[in-house]
Symmetry: C7
Subunit: 240 residues, 7 copies
């Protein structure tokens, strides 16, 4: 339900409403809320990103719906919201990571990269001539032996979480995490918790072919996407 | 049926609606839905693009209505929607392919090219001063011995299919493919399935002079458009 | 008769209507429909462009109303619609043709030139800050021993015809061509058919001083505009 | 009388009306129709431009109201409509003429210059950010021994006339010319016809001090403005 | 009294009204009509500019209200309308005059400078993004031994007068000049006529401290502003 | 009370109203009228600027509210209106003063600097894309042994005063100055007059901690801001 | 409650309202008023910034919500309002500080940096194409042995305080400071006063994990953020 006052201030990102809100940024967040659900979980053994890809046709090549992206050896990203926007941000992240390697001969710090992406997204909320990004990202990686898990939203706000979710299923995911999450668990258990959360968020409508998982384990120290076979082992062992 | 709320947010690509939608992109998709039907099918022996050109005058030079374009030795594209927009995208694709050959001395990867086109189309959904492309593309090709078949839409979304269709007849085409498609068939059978799909999508109103077919067979390994004689052999053998 | 929905989307080329149309491009086509009638006909012996110049004052220098333009030795163009727009496109065509001669030391291919013009016109349907061209062109020429006859419209769409017409009289012209056109005729017969078509399209209101004819015969191999004397011989021999 | 449809499309040159018209260009023509009357006449002995300057105060320096401009040795221009716009076009014409002399070491062809001006004016009817020129020009000159007389209007349309008029009095002038004009007359007679036309167009309200005359005679071969004494001789000899 | 039609076309200089008028230019002229009155008079002995500065506070430094400006040795300008706009034009005039001296090593011709200013002002009536100048200028000077007196208005129109006035009092001034002005008088008499005109235009509300006078006499040949003492001598001798 | 006509023309600085006014400039003047009161007074012994800083919290560092700024050794400025705008103009003034010293190796003339600032402010009243400055300045200084006191307003108008005031209290200040001001007084008396004026303008609500005073005395020849101790001596000696 | 007049002027920063206000700047201040509360206090022994981070989920990494930023060795900043905007300003501040070190080989003066930030923010209130910053900053630091504490707001206004607060709790904070603040206290006492103010502003809803404290003590002379352990010691000792 929208009143007249809102309608008068909601068509340009360069206009504040009388109560100091930027409606276009809030509407961009709605695009994220309509997106597929993605979760990220840190634990003592590693960090995991899990996405429900919502494939509904056997004609689609399942792995063409990419919602988890490897950015650099040590960094991965999951997205929710407008697909084209996400790809544009992923491209940007990869370029930033490569520039860092070329300039300093070392992998980019996860927080540095996250801030660069957040700053870039903020720009699109202040200047006219374009719209904000209609996408949220979970950015995970390992820097100096520590696992990091950042979340950005269309306003460019950047928050670090122990466990979080974006997209349609966020409320269900966060409710479960508040209740059951613990840092002191194995990566296996974290994956199971994430799958359980996705299961609840999608009301049970997901199977192995539609789940994408990306992990960094302490032993491997790099970000990699699991094969379908690996994913299948988790689906076979029902979570919780 | 459009309500007032929609009308208030649908005239600029730089404006989200309160529920996070970009109406101008959705309207551009309508231009695609009004376009001629094109289908693409991958099988173990190759990949095929088939287009119904809808010629309705004997005064027209049939082959001037080009809906299937050779982009590079190993890549072909079929389009549906605004004709001028499609040609602009095809030009861009050809330039990208040539740049790759000049820069790296090797053919461009099909997925790389598809992403470049999708990224380009996404740009037109975020920045003001232009409208989104009113066209969808089926991009097919062979890279590293594998057949690929991508579909882009005006939002810049990129999906890989085993078999798909764009344009007016998409619903009829997809229905048939869901029921009858199989990867394990000969290229000949794939072509016949495609023609059958087009036949249903156009309610039988098409003949050899209005069908354009492009193929990559495993034996040839390059994209080529069939001659009218070749096409005629398939029309003579009624599909299914 | 226009409804409210149309009115809301028809004032900018950067805006799609909800059904995926670009009204400004369609309105530009109306400018063409108000233009003088021009016809183009290919036959085995050559190709001809004929225009009715609609001169209505003895004070006008008849040959100052130029509707047929020589672009290069082997290419000619006929236009209908906004006169100033046509001249701008003709200028562009001439420059493209000269650039080709300078760069490659050979005449530009007719299809290449036609596509360049179509691409240029498409640009004006996608970007803001200008309006589409309010003109259609018939582009004819000879490349590799073959006669070509292309038609562009304000959307940048490019079609090749055996025989076609643009401007006010197009419906009458096309009706006649569908019935009487044949490729297997002499250039003389083609000219007579074109004059007959113009005669019907203008309801008989035209005479030698207002008709402009451009031809490429197989024997000459170059585009030239007929002298008034030559034109007179055809008028004297009533068509059909 | 203007209806609502017109009002919706008439405030930008980048917008076509549903019937394919450019109202801003048509309104610019109204500025010309409100301008002072100018006539141009070609005959076998030369060409003449005559303008009624409509001076209505003895405090004005009559020759400061310049409506006829020498562009180059062999070219002159008369204008009607917005005075500042005309001066801008005249400046441009003079620069083009000088560039030609510097680049090719020869006087610019009258038709070439006229097309350059028409092209320039067309540009202002297609691109946003400026308005069309509110002025019409009569461009006369001699090239290759031939007298030329071109007329441009705000749309950039270019027509060559034997005799024509622009400004408020155009209808009256054209009516007289259609009836009485003949190419086979002396320059003197042409001047007298022009003065008679102006006389009728202004309903007799003009005298020697307000008439400006520019001529190119075959014997002189250059454009020059007549002195007030010369002009007086024609006024004393009543035309017709 | 303004009707609806006017209101629809009067908010942008890039928009003609249906009757071919530019309302924004006409409104800029209103700013001039609200300005202080300035007069200029040529006679056989010289030329004079007189301005009523309308000072109404003893706290103001009278000579800080500059309405008459020396542009170069031989040129002076009087202005009426927006004060800041006038100063911007005066700055421009001075730069043009200096450029001429540097480029050609001679003083700029009065007419040349006047046209440059008029052209500059015209530009602001055709292109968007700025408003027209809300000021009129009287430009006077001596070139080749001749006195010149030009008047520009916001449209960029340039007229040469023997005697003229701008600002609020223009109607009263012109009425007096039409009746009493003569070229054959002394500079002293011209000054007296100008003061008389100002006196009538201001209904007698002016005194020596508020009058500014600039002159070029034939004997001096340069433009100079009179001292207050000189001005006082004319005030003491009542005009007429 | 605003009528409909005003409302139609008051939202852009590039639009004149039908009576030739620029409402946005007039509204910017309202921002000045809401500002703190500042006064400037010239006398035979020097010049003084006095500002009431209106401090209302003991938590504020009083000298952080700077309303009087030293621009160069010999020039000071007082401002009223938007604080951020004033600082931007002060920055600009300082840069101009430094450029003058670097370019000519001498202090900038007070009038030259004032005109530069006024010209800069005028620009913001003619071009779109920005708003006029919402601030007025009192610019004082000494050049060639003479004290100068200029006032600019948002339109870029520049006036020189013997004594003047800006901001909320201007009417009260000017009334007092018209009655009591005299040039022939000591700097001490001028300061006392200024304080008395401020006292009346603020209805007595000001004390030493909120008054800022800047002076140039003939003996010192430079601009300096008084210390709080100096200011206190004037407050203790009640003015008038 | 907003009336029609306000609504007409409040959607662009380039538009003054008739009473000289910039509504968009005022609306940006509302974004600050909705922000988390931050306080800054100077005392004889140092300066302290304290922020209530309002964390409400155990899943959040508390130190990822950064509201206090170290800019340079000797400067720190606290922010309230739009998070992305604050980060953009902090980035800018850090760059300015580094440029100063590189250019002059010395730390930037606190006031200089504050003015640079204020000037930058002012720019966004005068030019179109972007919105003002929706954030306020407390900038603290030590220069020449003196502690400084500046506050900027969206208009670019810069004020120096002894003690102040921004964000939702500002009214409560200022009320307490007016009553209880004294410069002559220890840094410990200042911290306790700040915590007490925050406690009142948040109605007691804050604990050690959500409070962030930054200090410069006279003995250390640099800005540093306190560890959680240090913060805990203050929370344990209830303020007041």
């Amino acid at each position: 339900m929208m009143n007249n006052n809102q309608a008068a201030y909601d068509r340009a990102i360069t206009v504040f409403s009388p109560d100091g809100r930027l409606y276009q940024v809030e509407y961009a967040r709605e695009a994220v809320k309509r997106g597929t659900t993605a979760v990220g979980i840190k634990c003592q053994d590693g960090v995991v990103l899990i996405v429900d890809k919502r494939i509904n046709s056997r004609l689609l090549e399942a792995n063409s719906i990419e919602k988890i992206f490897k950015i650099d050896e040590h960094i991965g990203v999951a997205s929710s919201g407008l697909v084209g926007d996400a790809r544009a941000l992923v491209d940007r992240a990869r370029v930033e990571a490569q520039i860092n390697r070329i300039s300093y001969d070392e992998p980019i710090d996860v927080e540095t990269l996250s801030k660069k992406l957040g700053d870039h997204m903020q720009t699109y909320t202040q200047f006219g001539g374009a719209r904000p990004y209609g996408t949220a990202l979970l950015i995970t990686g390992i820097s100096d032996g520590e696992f990091r898990l950042f979340e950005t939203d269309p306003s460019g706000t950047l928050l670090e979480y122990k466990a979080t979710g974006i997209g349609t299923g966020r409320p269900a995911v966060m409710k479960l995490f508040e209740e059951e999450y613990t840092y002191e668990c194995s990566l296996d258990d974290a994956i199971k918790l994430g799958l359980k959360a996705l299961h609840e968020a999608t009301e049970g409508k997901f199977d192995v072919s539609t789940v994408e998982i990306g992990v960094i384990s302490r032993s491997e120290g790099i970000f990699r996407k699991m094969t379908r076979e690996e994913v299948a082992t988790y689906i076979d062992q029902p979570a919780a």
